[in-house]
């Protein structure tokens, strides 16, 4: 019996399908397997991953490698994608410093103004001057309250800023109630002798005076020009439970201000669009430009640097010189990104409008033949490079029950969203669009201000829950889940990801509802936009209604909500759309590998 293997080397996984043709001439599939891709797609390092996947697939089917008579590897699409993010607004310059945070238990309420003085130097205080005392962690709450009580008999002590989490303990022991802010980690950065305003919000509220430019002007006595320059500080303090603003008139910070810049499409009908005009306008201009030869950013601007970064990254992967790399498609998405504020003492940021961009580059053909040769030497089995990836994917997708031609596939991967249409005559039209799973991860990471990309990837993949007691958690759809034994106390009170390996804690303190909203928006902005863009491109006469079936394949088709989002969107076009089920068993995976087996057996 002749065993044929189809091998699809993807960006993240290598998939294998094993098939044969029985005596009556029917194609029979014997099994499949999936392993992580070793090394960058299209390099010799892939051979290990391919071998592992082949071995798993043949042994699952009850055979050995030596039973294989032919291995067919996909001709990978010569496109690679990358992402970048840049804010639109210019760098912020201010003359003041600030701290804004949400301590769990500040004490007192209201605002106070005074000169900053460390607790250790209280005996140097002058009468008739208002003071705000700064207290490092080394003092106990008893010492702090005793010293402040004593000093308050002679001096005007208006407020306290503490490093330790002891505001309530100190307040309970003070004779006169004043606002106290605690959990200020970088207490040593507070400059002695400068005028500061502090505010603690009433329970259940957020700061009112210090999140208002005129409020800061009132407390610190600022003129109109100074008030203008502290506006970003006020903005960044919105929603905080406590805040400190310090007037540092000589701490002038100058930074280069970069223009946002414009993008030029070198195309059938070339056009230029300014980044300020937003993602929608950029995408409209791109669509009107027709066939794109190259996409350029204005030099020495934010967008110019962003596209340059993408070019440099691509040249690292493809081995071509950065100047020779032509960007042939991009997806621009409106988003918000945290911007560091000059003068922030604890790394505070404020959210500013930004554009996220995924770009795609056409490279020369990937060296698949070299991989095939290496594999052939290694396995002693004939290995050939066969079939264009999109055509194979379309062929494989047709094994999904309930489909018929003309059939469109939407392959949603990590770097690009690819579409292909196969019509009644077997002719295939295809396209590649920049932007897919990786752009979604980047949007989630920046909009939520997450420290690690890994957390963003996990948020993309798994639903959320909040551990409300030691015995139950509330899932994001409102359902409750109860546990027999108690939940790990480290998870208590936190938002967690419901992964197959168990609950994973999200360290950042972000409400569950906010994470859900950002996650869904990011997926919608990338995948719905790109699905429409890609399908319109390949549809007969560019009319979506002329595609009766859309089969979703690729890694992102396994997502728990993207297929539903697309189904809702396509309902308007009367298109049957759903997650593929390759060979009625594999789900949306293995389409290309299956297509590779089918195409060979088909033309024997």
């Amino acid at each position: 019996m002749k065993l044929i293997a189809g091998v699809d080397i993807g960006n993240s996984t290598t998939e294998v399908c094993i098939g044969t043709r029985d005596a009556s001439g029917f194609t029979r599939f014997l099994g499949g397997a999936m392993r992580p891709t070793t090394g960058t797609k299209g390099t010799l390092a892939n051979v290990h991953g391919v071998k592992a996947a082949l071995l798993a697939a043949v042994s699952e089917a009850g055979y050995q490698i030596s039973d294989l008579s032919l291995v067919r590897i996909n001709e990978a699409a010569p496109v690679i994608g990358d992402t970048a993010m840049e804010t639109i607004t210019e760098t912020i310059i201010t003359e003041s410093s600030m701290i804004g945070h949400n301590p769990a238990t500040p004490a007192g309420a209201g605002q106070a103004v005074g000169e900053l003085i460390p607790l250790a130097r209280l005996d140097m205080a002058r009468e008739g001057v208002a003071y705000i005392v700064t207290v490092p962690r080394s003092y106990t709450y008893e010492t702090v309250s005793q010293r402040i009580n004593r000093a308050a008999e002679r001096y005007e002590i208006k407020g306290v800023i503490m490093q330790a989490d002891e505001a309530v303990l100190v307040e309970n022991r003070l004779n006169k109630k004043i606002p106290i802010i605690d959990e200020v980690r970088y207490i040593e950065r507070l400059p002695e002798g400068k005028l500061a305003a502090i505010e603690v919000a009433l329970p259940g509220q957020s700061v009112r005076m210090l999140s208002n430019p005129y409020g800061i002007a009132t407390l610190l006595g600022l003129d109109a020009a100074q008030t203008r320059s502290i506006t970003p500080i006020a903005k960044s303090l919105i929603g905080k439970r406590s805040a400190v603003v310090i007037k540092t008139p000589h701490g002038n910070i100058r930074e280069n201000v970069l223009k946002a810049g414009s993008i030029t499409f070198d195309a059938h009908s070339s056009a230029t669009v300014n980044i300020d005009e937003g993602a929608e306008r950029i995408m409209q201009t791109l669509q009107n430009a027709g066939e794109i030869r190259n996409i350029l950013g204005e030099p020495n601007t934010n967008v110019g640097q962003m596209l340059q970064r993408i070019r440099n990254g691509m040249s690292g992967v493809s081995g071509e010189r950065a100047e020779d790399i032509r960007i042939t498609d991009l997806l621009a998405v409106d988003t918000l990104a945290p911007v560091a504020i000059a003068g922030a003492l604890a790394g505070e940021t404020c959210m500013e409008k930004a554009v996220g961009i995924a770009a795609m580059v056409r490279t020369r053909q990937l060296p698949m033949q070299q991989i095939a040769d290496a594999l052939m030497r290694d396995l002693g089995v004939r290995v050939i490079v066969a079939g264009v990836e999109a055509v194979m994917a379309a062929l494989g997708a047709m094994t999904t029950p309930g489909t018929r031609v003309p059939l469109a596939i939407l392959d949603m991967g990590g770097g690009s969203t690819d579409a292909a249409v196969i019509d009644e005559d077997g002719a295939v039209r295809m396209t590649h669009c920049a932007g897919a799973g990786e752009l979604v991860s980047m949007l989630i990471q920046t909009e939520l201000g997450l420290a690690s990309r890994h957390t963003a990837e996990q948020i993309k993949k798994y639903p959320l829950g909040k551990v409300e007691s030691l015995f139950h958690l509330r899932l994001e759809n409102g359902a409750m889940q109860f546990f027999d034994g108690s939940i790990d106390p480290r998870l208590f009170g936190h938002v967690v990801l419901m992964t197959p390996e168990g609950m994973v804690r999200i360290d950042e303190d972000i409400p569950m509802e906010k994470i859900v909203q950002v996650r869904r928006e990011a997926k919608r902005k990338v995948f719905v936009t790109n699905a429409l863009r890609a399908l319109r491109e390949v549809a007969p006469t560019h009319e979506m209604r002329r595609i009766p079936n859309v089969v979703l394949v690729g890694g992102s088709a396994e997502d728990f909500e993207i297929p539903e989002m697309l189904m809702e969107e396509f309902a308007a076009y009367r298109i049957v759309c759903g997650r593929g089920n390759i060979r009625a068993t594999e789900g949306p995976r293995n389409a290309v590998a299956t297509g590779l087996v089918l195409s060979y057996l088909g033309d024997v």
Binding site: L169, L470, S486, G493, H494
Partner: protein
């Protein structure tokens, strides 16, 4: 009508005074009320479970010498939620804070010292 104050109960047997102060400070900083009740004998885990059963808030701490345990009413496990054989002042403060945070449904403070 007999009503008990909503407090976290701290059962003690020959307690280390400094650790007791730290536990109380942890609870006070979170703004929750507590009562300290001396017991004739017992081990920390058992006493903490007993305290949580009596506490209106369902949160009980025990301090026996230098060993601390925190137990929550309804926990079926026999071992306490948090326990330290020879607690440091920082651990004692955290146990106090966490005995209150479990009621306030706030994340625990764990090992910042």
């Amino acid at each position: 009508m007999i009503a008990r104050k909503p407090t976290i109960l701290i059962f003690t047997v020959r307690p280390d005074e400094m650790l007791l102060r730290e536990i109380c400070a942890g609870i006070e900083e979170e703004g929750v009320l507590y009562e300290v009740i001396a017991q004739p004998s017992g081990d920390a885990a058992t006493l903490a479970a007993a305290a949580s059963g009596v506490s209106v808030l369902g949160s009980g701490v025990a301090l026996v010498g230098c060993s601390i345990a925190l137990h929550i009413k309804g926990m079926t496990d026999r071992s306490p939620l948090l326990g330290f054989e020879r607690a440091t002042p920082g651990q004692a403060r955290d146990v106090g804070a966490n005995s209150a945070r479990v009621i306030k449904k706030l994340p625990f403070k764990l090992g910042e010292h």
